[in-house]
Amino acid sequence: MAPDVTTPPAGGTALPPRPAGQRSVLQRVLATRESSVIGALLVSILAASLLVDGFASGRNSGFLILDIAAIALIALPMTLVIVTGEIDLSVASTLGLTSAVMGQLWVIGLPLETIAVLCLVLGALLGAVNGLLVTVAGLPSLAVTIGTMAMYRGLAYVILGDQAVADFPFSWTGGATARLSGTPIPWIALLIIVLAVVFGLLLHATPFGRSLYAIGSNDEAARFSGIPVLRTKLVLFIASGTVASLAGVFWTLQYGSARADNAFGLELSVVAAVLLGGVSIFGGKGALLGVLGGVLLLGTIRNALQLADVSSDMLSIVTGTLLVVSVVLPNAIERVRARRRTAEPPS
């Protein structure tokens, strides 16, 4: 995609590509994964606006943002987790458990303000359980969080069964989906942006952030160079759990319904968006901007195809294909490059 387009070989494909050092800054920026994601996003928005009736309206963008809000929130810490080479698949269950607890606490009469804080503490604790199992017990996060995914969801059912708590005050449920005054944009977009800036700065502008890439590239080497690998990972899992709970509180109010099965399966959408955004599942690579692009791209495609009356089965096929292509294509390009490099005659 972008890398090949932006570095046109001067005299046909036979010539070796210029060494990276000679590329201009612009070329290097354009060659990154996140720029191809953003490019794909802009193209799909443009195409959808031109081709799909009802897509390019304020009302619809409000719907779109609310649709992806929970995914966008959870994807932020997930990016940091995946950059370190770990994964947290328990996020959707954390959301569901938060929702169930929120409903139960509301039933016993606690004020919503207190409940919200307690829910975030709960999320931090659930994240800490994941983190401790990964760091102290030294288990792979894939196994740990598949386990806690089932466990947290099970707990949610224990707490609320298949009942729903739905008598939250309208001032809160309506407030959750309220638009910024005078615009069709829901206020949650602001919270997402603020958190994205926080996590973005943390990842890209601090030594802590750089240590995440080091851990993701080579866990062992990072440890030997003095990075507190285990503590770092613990912090990330706690952040992931906390934000998943925040998303749970929002989700519950957004739909006005606390249920144990809320956001069932959402973890896959989150991981898909993060990977689509150019974060390597093996760790060490990725940028937050790309992830935001990935979340928006998936949301846009889903929204546009729904408006175009494409069935939900076809929709799964399209998003699945997109994901596979987005993972396979950069790999393929990398391999072609590597072959060209080795084919280069010695100077």
Partner: protein, 357 residues
């Protein structure tokens, strides 16, 4: 070390900040009075209003590729065709609580005139349905209702009373009006099931059923294997059992499977609520004589007519209004905007091949 520690501090501060943001001052508890966001039905009904051609009538089942709804919505398509409307079926591939919301928003954005929905979660879809209403769509719920503030009318497939009496009539007739019977239900806390069981007991308390005795109620949890085992247990514990009523499709099919291969076949009567496709082989091999369920196709058909009548202004959803529903005849809107489809359909050898769900 010091540097990283400050950064942990930073992270912790960020997290703490996050918590504080949500923890605004004051306190909102369950006891507080609150306004609800309900939309009011307004306007006068004009029974002679013409139903315009080309009404967009959209069906949003609990999930796509669910045989029950696929069959039901053939009735919706039939109604839309007769009304010269534009039929459409959309829906999520998973029957999740909140998965229908984006489809409601999409339909509203497309300007659908009528949205017919079977709600996965009566509450989660409410606010988006109200928004769709405000944007001009008529909302009809079928199969599974939402709160009455979130829709115009609800097509009730059958009242609990009708379901109970039909099943009691079937079992009484088949066992000859006397003997021991038992219930095979779903879960002990399933609201529907318990309401039906209670109404059946009430019905059986009448004089005409004085010789019928309910000896046991067991729960198969709507799990095929558990229901199968419970049926087996029932027949072993109660050697004089004449009949079993299972008001759940899973229970009825599992019980029929056990009965068809056991020595009790032919001696013990089995009936209840089931789907023709699941029960066909047991009706054909004589295990089950007849059972009942509403016809989902008629339910969706009626929903289409109700929606079109609302959209055209023939009815407003107020109690007592009547409207024509094609081949089903005239219907009346009941209390709380409920329209009852009618007594359940009884399926037996003679008619079972006419249904496909």
């Amino acid at each position: 070390m010091l540097r990283t520690r400050t950064h942990y501090g930073l992270t912790a501060a960020t997290l703490a900040g996050l918590m504080l943001v949500t923890a605004a001052c004051g306190g909102t508890t369950r006891g507080d009075a609150d306004d609800s966001g309900g939309a009011e039905a307004a306007g006068e009904a004009d029974p002679n209003a013409e139903i315009p051609e080309g009404l967009a009538i959209s069906y949003l089942p609990k999930q796509l590729n669910n045989p029950y709804f696929t069959y039901a919505n053939t009735g919706g398509e039939e109604a839309a065709e007769e009304l010269k409307g534009e039929y459409k079926e959309v829906g999520p591939s998973e029957a999740n609580a909140s998965s229908q919301v984006s489809y409601i928003n999409t339909l509203s954005q497309q300007g659908s005139d009528v949205i017919v929905i079977a709600a996965n979660d009566p509450d989660a879809v409410c606010s988006s349905l109200q928004q769709a209403q405000q944007a001009g769509s008529v909302i009809v719920t079928y199969d599974s209702d939402t709160g009455k503030d979130c829709r115009d009318v609800f097509i009730n497939q059958a009242t609990a009373e009708d379901i109970a009496t039909t099943q009691v009539e079937m079992i009484a007739e088949q066992i000859g009006g006397e003997g021991e019977i038992a219930f095979l239900s779903a879960t002990p806390n399933a609201t529907n099931q318990n309401a039906w069981l209670e109404l059946m007991e009430e019905e059986l308390a009448k004089d005409e059923y004085a010789d019928i005795e309910v000896v046991d109620t067991v729960y198969g949890n709507d799990d095929d294997q558990k229901s199968f085992n419970e049926m087996q247990g029932l027949l072993q514990t109660h050697p004089d059992l004449k009949g079993v009523v299972s008001p759940t499709t899973v229970g009825l099919a599992a019980a029929a499977r056990y009965l068809s291969s056991s020595d009790y076949k032919g001696d013990v009567t089995l009936t209840g609520l089931g789907t023709p496709n699941q029960m066909k082989e047991y009706v054909e091999d004589g295990t089950v004589e007849e059972f009942a369920l509403w016809d989902p196709k008629n339910m969706a058909y009626l929903a289409g007519y109700a929606g079109a009548s609302l959209s055209a202004g023939r009815i407003t959803g107020a109690e007592g209004e009547t409207f024509e529903a094609g081949r089903l005849g005239e219907y009346e809107v009941g209390a709380d905007g409920e329209i009852v489809l009618g007594p359940p359909t009884v399926f037996n050898e003679d008619n079972i091949d006419d249904y496909d769900f």
